[in-house]
Amino acid sequence: MALFLSPWIIGFSVFILYPMIASLYYSFTNYDLLEDPTWVGWQNYRFMFTKDPQFWIAMRNTLWIIAVGVPLQILTALTLGWLLTRPKRGSRFYRTALFLPTMVPPVAAALGFVFLFNPSTGPINQGLKAMGVHDPPLWFYSPYWSKWGLVFLGLWGVGQTMMIFLAGLLDVPQQLYEAAEIEGAGAWQRFRHVTLPMISPVIFFSVVIGVIAGFQYFTQAYVASFAVSGMPTGSASSNIGGPEESTLFYSLHLYIKGFAHFQMGYASAMAWILFLIIMACTILLIRSSRRWVHYQGGFR
């Protein structure tokens, strides 16, 4: 038995278990990648909570993108999925068209949005001005709008979640709607009491995945903030997460600490805090799901 499992055991041990144990150890050390780690006990954790203002800024930004981005993505995906159940003709075309943005690599998508939302030359603001908006947002150049730019980028690439919702919606037994209709239920009541419960496992899945992805949000913010900084690749890390730290998310801060400032012990501590937060959120969501997620046949 162990022989057959050995490829997995070796892979798991080398690529997951050992790095996790090593990073847990490093989180209690001062480790700059240049010298052997030295044990500092809880110092990294104490510093994180008491002396690193960027940690709290990054945490606040991350919670914002989760609190705003995840519900909006689910709502958009659900709406688009529902709309895709409507057309009698051309549904394949619409599905493909709406799914296509998902195929665009995140780096290219982020750069594209920076261009589209450029307050000086981008077509979005040109259009807004043409429509009479005198003072359109500065988007990625404004600390008040930069996160919204990223939210719109996320909504543009919502195709994958949309397809899962579409599958969930198409999976709702038709006879349930017919029964509800016979009972006199209107459209809203059918949606509220038939559709929502039946697709609640899909919503649950999307929330869990969305929250985890939100805590690990990195690529789009990295690319967008670097692009608007106008700095060359490899220049100072202060250009990441701007403007004014408005897109400094937890993973970006962790990356800067580990790979730009070479504070790998501190970055490891941050990684473990992130791991614990994600695990706590996931457990909370799973526990809460007993009250609002309904599985066909009653299985959980």
Binding site: D52, L138, S142, G230, A236, S237, S238, A260
Partner: protein
């Protein structure tokens, strides 16, 4: 069976742990090599950050000359290694290249402090070399730390003021600004606005975080002679009044333009690294701080631009320092664990001091050559405007910021503050600077510095 499996796993972890902590140690006495003796062939490996074709060609000419000088040595070059983390990983793994080159000056203190880059002093003493005979004083501040000389320069950058002669003449200016008051006055006079109030041509952009050089607080801090650290090693932002003066000047000019107008203008700026798309080259900027490399961009991309260069302005009360500027560029050294230390030293010394090679590389890459002899060489074939940068580099007052084991973290903290200050989110300058200093001190304490 279960016990044996557990032991095997434990042994595997122990081996991995050992592998991951390898690479320490270095010899106190340097290896020596007699260039005139018979030698077995040696292949010397070096990682360099250059990747553009003309840059690699410029450096390759140096390696060719080195191989001709030391025929038993063959160079094996890996280009495009911009990220020092890769080199550090190789050093940690005990398999570094024999010699390294880096653009990350800010990391040098950590390299030096930890021995990741070897102290070259034993080699220097062994060869009876007097470093100050070769390089201007500014080199000392960015190639060593804590009494160790861990690197030599291989070409460098210098920052000065570029100005558009046509735009200045159109407004009646015949000379570039020499002080910040003159800079402010000329910036306002040279700025043109569109009918909708947006900026058409900017006299000078004071915004931190636009172009690489022009938008970096570091350059202004050099001009204002603002110390980064006190003598006791603590951060000096709250104790050196030059910082507050610098930020006040900057905010006043920012407010004259208007924050949103500046952001709008910067958003429309052309690509700084395109041959003919940078705003100064396009005539949208009348004056800008920039590095010596811009002369090559202008020559290749916008050769008709009527421009000149001058040292960066200095504060009015420090007018006698006019001529200084930020300097610092490519550094080379020998990593801990180098397999051919003696040959690596020959290479580092050759690259840093061989006049013909330095001049050829400077001509090819468009950077400032770094030795006294190469600075005076008649073979330098660079544009006339380049002379400013040679002078700035040679000026004894030119320097880079104080090195710190924090690497770029101190600059990141300051830049983060600067961004909030200029936009008006921080209004109490002194309190803000005190927080910056406290944050840097906390980081130093955390890093054990």
């Amino acid at each position: 069976m279960r016990k044996r499996f557990a032991l095997t796993v434990a042994a595997a972890f122990a081996l991995m742990a050992a592998a991951c902590t390898a690479g320490g140690g270095g010899n106190d006495a340097p290896e020596t090599v007699d260039p005139n003796a018979e030698h077995d062939p040696v292949t010397l490996e070096m990682w360099i950050p250059f990747s553009a074709e003309h840059e690699v060609a410029g450096v390759q000419a140096t390696f060719d000359a080195f191989e001709a000088e030391y025929p038993w040595i063959t160079m094996n070059i890996t280009t495009g290694v911009e990220d020092d983390a890769k080199t550090l990983a190789a050093i940690r793994a005990g398999e570094p290249p024999d010699a390294v080159m880096s653009w990350a000056l800010d990391d040098l203190a950590a390299f030096c402090d930890t021995g990741a880059w070897q102290d070259l002093s034993p080699f220097i003493q062994q060869d009876g070399m007097v470093v100050s005979d070769f390089f201007p004083p500014s080199v000392e501040r960015y190639t060593g730390f804590g009494g160790k000389q861990c690197a030599f320069p291989f070409l460098t950058d210098a920052v000065g003021l570029y100005y558009n002669k046509d735009l200045l003449e159109a407004k009646g200016f015949t000379e570039p600004p020499k002080t910040y008051s003159e800079l402010t006055e000329m910036a306002k006079a040279l700025t043109e606005f569109n009918p909708d109030g947006s900026i058409k041509v900017a006299g000078f952009i004071p915004w931190f975080g636009n172009y690489y050089v022009n938008g970096d607080p570091l350059n202004h801090s050099i001009a204002w002679d603002a110390d980064w650290y006190n003598d006791d090693g603590t951060a000096a932002m709250a104790t050196d009044p030059d910082w507050a003066a610098m930020f006040r000047w900057q905010k006043d000019l920012v407010d004259w333009y208007g924050v949103d107008k500046l952001k709008q203008f910067i958003a429309g700026q052309g690509d700084e690294w395109g041959e003919a798309s940078q705003d100064f080259q396009l005539g949208r900027l009348a004056m800008a701080l920039d590095g010596e490399w811009r002369t090559a961009f202008i020559e290749n991309g916008t050769p008709d631009l009527n421009y000149d260069t001058a040292p960066a302005p200095v504060p009015d009360d420090q007018a006698d320092t006019y001529g200084i500027g930020r300097v610092g560029g490519t550094i080379i050294g020998i990593p801990r664990g180098s397999a051919h230390e003696a040959e690596a030293w020959l290479l580092v010394k050759f690259m840093a001091t061989n006049t013909d090679s330095l001049v050829a590389a400077a001509n090819a890459i468009g950077n400032v050559p770094t030795t006294f002899d190469s600075l005076e060489s008649s073979d330098l074939s660079l544009p006339d405007q380049f002379a400013t940068f040679l002078d700035v580099f040679e000026n004894p007052g030119s320097h880079y910021k104080d090195m710190s084991i924090l690497g770029s973290a101190d600059q990141d903290i300051l830049t983060s503050f600067a961004a909030k200050w200029q936009s008006g989110r921080i209004t109490d300058l002194e309190a803000g600077l005190a927080q910056v200093a406290q944050q840097i001190d906390d980081q130093l304490e955390q890093a054990g510095g």
